[in-house]
């Protein structure tokens, strides 16, 4: 046995998985997309962008730049012409405010810098109250992604802890936890969510809690079955034989061996919770109306579509779809990278 003298740690599992992930072009592209979303969400959370999403910056239903010719009563395509409203002597005679016009015009000129000119064209258009759809989409993305991430952390944490106990100890502990699981899954999901939000009241925190408290069941079953599989493995028995405690075996020995599944579960839950938030908000049980999320935007869009204002739906649907699809592909690549068996295809 020769000493090669290199006392450096060898590439750990995670480093190898990272290398496999980087070797996958799909993962690289989707990772970049997700990174952009996260950066934008962070910038929006710190107030650097999209701070004024709730301000009236354009005319009602301002046209998006890519469709400037859509009819809009207050926009460039308006049929009401400004020069038609020039006041002449005839109107002055019947208009009681006519004598004040001079004064008003003067005030307007002196305060010109203070009055915001309502835009007729906005990058992605405007909504009914003249809010910028781009800013709205960004702010909504920030909240939706935050809800998805936070809720999936809660759900996966609950699922992993309960699943670990149930799978590792089996017996009575398993029976009790299985009972809780069965109760949770026997109630229709939406009903459960409604019950939780009725009790907890409205708010972003509630949405996160509701999704987290109801979404742990899948993770629980997965982790439980993994623990059942691992607890009889030789390496766990060897740990038992050297005198390791139960908690040590559960969380120091077995947990790292199922951690890749937890990571995959986490990313899958993010996607499903973002979609669930949309449904909840659409139904009116989600994010309160003074905030904005992709779900609220879709909910708002209902009345707009009737009068042909499609750009708000287009923006938020595109933003959400791109995020969800990129995240799904990324999750798939992640699973391939984390599962060493699939690495040699």
């Amino acid at each position: 046995m020769s000493m090669n003298g290199t006392n450096t740690r060898s590439a750990s599992f995670w480093i190898q998985a990272w290398k496999r992930l980087l070797a996958d072009p799909v993962a690289r592209i989707c990772g970049c997309i997700l990174a952009i979303y996260l950066v934008v969400a962070l910038l929006s959370a710190t107030g650097l962008i999209a701070k004024g999403w709730n301000d009236e910056v354009g005319v009602s239903y301002a046209n998006p730049v890519f469709a400037p010719n859509e009819p809009n009563p207050e926009g460039d395509t308006s049929l009401i012409r400004e020069d038609a409203s020039v006041t002449d002597d005839e109107t002055k005679a019947i208009d009681p405010l006519a004598p004040k016009y001079e004064e008003i015009a003067k005030l307007e000129r002196t305060n010109a810098d203070k009055v915001t000119v309502l835009q007729r064209l906005l990058p992605l258009g405007g909504d009914k109250t003249g809010r910028d759809v781009l800013a709205k989409t960004i702010k909504a993305g920030q909240i939706s992604i935050a809800i998805g991430l936070a809720a999936s952390f809660i759900a996966v944490f609950i699922g992993v802890v309960l699943g670990a106990f149930s799978g590792y100890f089996g017996g009575k502990v398993n029976d009790a936890l299985e009972w809780v699981y069965n109760v949770f899954t026997s109630v229709p999901y939406i009903l459960l969510v409604l019950a939780f939000s009725a009790v907890l009241g409205k708010g972003v925190g509630t949405v996160i809690l509701v999704l987290g408290m109801t979404g742990w069941t899948g993770t629980y079953r997965l982790i439980r079955s993994e623990y059942i599989k691992h607890r009889d493995r030789d390496y766990v028995q060897a740990a038992n034989a050297i005198g390791a405690s139960h908690l040590r075996m559960m969380f120091l020995h077995i947990l790292p061996n199922v951690s890749h599944l937890i990571l995959i579960q986490l990313s899958q839950e993010v996607i499903s919770f973002i979609k669930a938030e949309v449904v909840l908000s659409f139904l009116g049980f989600g994010v309160p109306v003074d905030l904005i999320s992709w779900g609220i935007m879709i909910s708002d869009v209902r009345s707009e579509l009737v009068i042909g204002k499609w750009w708000q739906l287009a923006s938020c649907a595109t933003a959400m779809s791109v995020f969800v699809v990129a995240f799904s592909f990324f999750t798939d690549s992640l699973r391939d990278a984390l599962d060493p068996k699939s690495s040699r295809r």
């Binding site: 046995m1 020769s2 000493m3 090669n4 003298g5 290199t6 006392n7 450096t8 740690r9 060898s10 750990s12 599992f13 493995r233 030789d234 390496y235 028995q237 060897a238 740990a239 038992n240 034989a241 050297i242 005198g243 390791a244 040590r248 020995h253 790292p256 061996n257 951690s259 040699r344």
Partner: protein
């Protein structure tokens, strides 16, 4: 039988070859693509031939390429990442198999060439009855009605020695024993009267007594059907009995090739010599087992001479005493009934300090359960285990904790017993941390490094992960992990069974050296009777959970008293040839 051969000659696509050669492997070179850049050459230009009506044995350790060459003949290598060199030829009955289309090869497989695998349980489809599977194999190659095929299947089952074939044809694979499953596999393989039967480690997963029956069956079938058998195995002793020709392979190269008698009696290649020498035999017990390196480096003369004396005297101090140990599992039957399945019943023995008790038995005899029960990895349902004056079975979990470091276990599978996410350093430090051995991690690291050196590994191993080591090296790491606690009793549960013969010898030598050095007592559990004979002072034979015989090893092997022990010893391959 010779119609294809003659037709081949008529058409002129038969190569000039002597009529008595069935399969000619010429310069077979197989490379696997592992990654974008990585290549692994499994076979580096291998040539051998299989004459008609003969048994050719391909012998080698894992990674020698013996199975790859069989898979190449059957066209079973994954096409996506396998490269077979253009110079390679596989001439079967005058036709080059490598030039055939997939369809032609598929036609030939099962009909003219068939194969049986190592694991009968996973080779049979568990959701179909065995009859259906045999009928399918027949109907694929012969125009036959289902009914006629079924009749033929019953005949075949009868021929391979399955009792009551009319009944057994309708059983599912799990209802048959391992030996019977392998017989079904053989029935499927011979259903179309193949000319060549490839048997890839057909008995490795079976017990010795069953192994003997299966080998006898294969030899009988070879006689009656006039077929050739390509027998792939790692077990040289098994080959000695059955093969006409032997091909010894190592790392994708043929080391030696020739008539079986010549290879066994006058091996020319040092590797063959080493393989023959490093396997413990029943009639000698050298101080140290020779290993492959001794032969490759021409040091076989420097081995310590003389025999090691074994056996336990009544005056030897006892470290562990087992009295009437009983272990049972409960299985649910129906809604309310429970059935008790006894895995170990009434086992009593004494383990002397610094000595080894070997526990032998076939699979399902309860030997592993016994070992795990002793260190409370299983609960026990009766009996006592006296250690240091205390009954270990009666202690609470907390009271038992300090005893854990004094009783240790090494598992069978070195690939499963090390946590894949821990570095070797973590693995070695953990027991010392748990039991607060030594004061600081710095001292512990030093101690771990010293132990790594002691078991024959480089200190750099400390920072590596288990997957970077071979099976033998991992078993050394397992041993080092146990040594960190300086145990008094070490249970070796099939600890060398998963290793190649040459590595097995090294690990056995290490275990022996450590026993001499630290005075540890071993409980050596194994199904391998030769290994147990070599390492044990006393031997305990188990059958179906019961202790059959317990005696000093020389006594037990020379004059076994119990009929079961006699049967077991008679089944050892190579017994009586020395």
């Amino acid at each position: 039988m010779h119609s294809i051969q003659s037709r081949a000659a008529d058409k002129g696509w038969g190569l000039k070859m002597s009529d008595d050669v069935l399969l000619d492997v010429k310069n077979l070179q197989v490379t696997f693509r592992l990654g974008k850049q990585e290549r692994f050459t499994a076979l580096k230009g291998v040539s051998y031939s299989v004459p008609r009506n003969s048994v050719v044995a391909l012998v080698g350790e894992s990674g020698s390429g013996k199975s790859v060459s069989a898979m190449a003949i059957m066209g079973l290598l994954p096409r996506a990442n396998t490269e077979i060199s253009n110079d390679s030829q596989l001439i079967f009955n005058g036709v080059d198999l490598l030039k055939e289309s997939e369809g032609e090869l598929r036609d030939r497989c099962g009909k003219e060439i068939s194969m049986i695998f190592q694991e009968p349980m996973s080779s049979l489809n568990p959701v179909y009855k065995v009859g259906e599977q045999i009928v399918e194999a027949i109907c694929l190659h012969k125009p036959m009605s289902k009914l006629a095929a079924r009749k033929r299947a019953i005949e075949l089952l009868d021929e391979v020695g399955i009792p009551q074939p009319e009944l057994k044809i309708d059983s599912y694979p799990h209802e048959l024993s391992g030996g019977q499953q392998q017989r079904v596999m053989i029935a499927m393989a011979i259903c179309c009267e193949p000319k060549l039967l490839i048997a890839d480690e057909p008995t490795t997963a079976l017990d010795v007594t069953i192994q003997k029956q299966i080998v006898e069956l294969l030899m009988k079938l070879r006689q009656t059907h006039g077929m050739s058998i390509l027998f792939i195995t790692h077990d040289l002793e098994l080959v000695r009995e059955i093969a006409d020709q032997v091909v010894v392979m190592h790392n994708g190269v043929i080391k030696e090739l020739g008539e079986a008698s010549a290879v066994f009696d006058h091996p020319k290649d040092p590797y063959t010599k080493a393989l023959l020498a490093c396997r413990p035999t029943l009639d000698s017990r050298p101080i140290r087992l020779p290993v492959v390196d001794d032969f490759l480096q021409g040091r076989e003369g420097e081995l310590p001479k003389g025999e090691r004396a074994r056996g336990v005297l009544p005056t030897d101090p006892i470290v562990l005493e087992v009295k009437g140990l009983r272990k049972s599992f409960t299985a649910k039957r129906g809604f309310f009934q429970k059935e008790e399945i006894v895995a170990v019943k009434d086992v009593s023995f004494k383990l002397a300090r610094g000595k080894t008790v070997g526990i032998v038995g076939e699979s399902g005899s309860g030997k592993t359960t016994l070992g795990k029960t002793l260190i409370r990895l299983h609960s026990c349902q009766g009996g006592e285990v006296l250690f240091d004056g205390k009954n270990l079975m009666a202690l609470s979990q907390k009271e038992f904790q300090p005893y854990k470091r004094r009783l240790q276990i090494i598992f069978q599978n070195p690939y499963a017993s090390l946590n894949p996410r821990f570095t070797i350093g973590d693995i070695l430090l953990e027991p010392m941390r748990v039991h607060s051995i030594l004061d600081s991690d710095k001292d512990r690291t030093e101690h771990a490094m010293a132990l790594l050196k002691r078991v024959g590994l480089a200190e750099s191993a400390f920072f590596k992960y288990p997957h970077e080591f071979s099976g033998g090296q991992r078993q050394r790491i397992s041993i080092a992990r146990c040594l960190t606690m300086k145990p008094e009793v070490m249970i070796c549960d099939e600890s060398v069974s998963a290793l190649d013969v040459s590595v097995q010898a090294q690990v056995l030598n290490l275990l022996q050296e450590l026993q001499d050095e630290y005075g540890m007592s071993y409980l050596f559990i194994s199904h391998d009777l030769s290994v147990v004979k070599y390492i044990s002072d006393e031997v305990l034979v188990m059958n179906r959970g019961e202790m059959v015989e317990f005696a000093n090893s020389d006594e037990l092997y020379h004059s076994p008293k119990h009929p079961y022990t006699q049967k077991l010893l008679a089944a050892i391959p190579g017994r009586g040839n020395h």
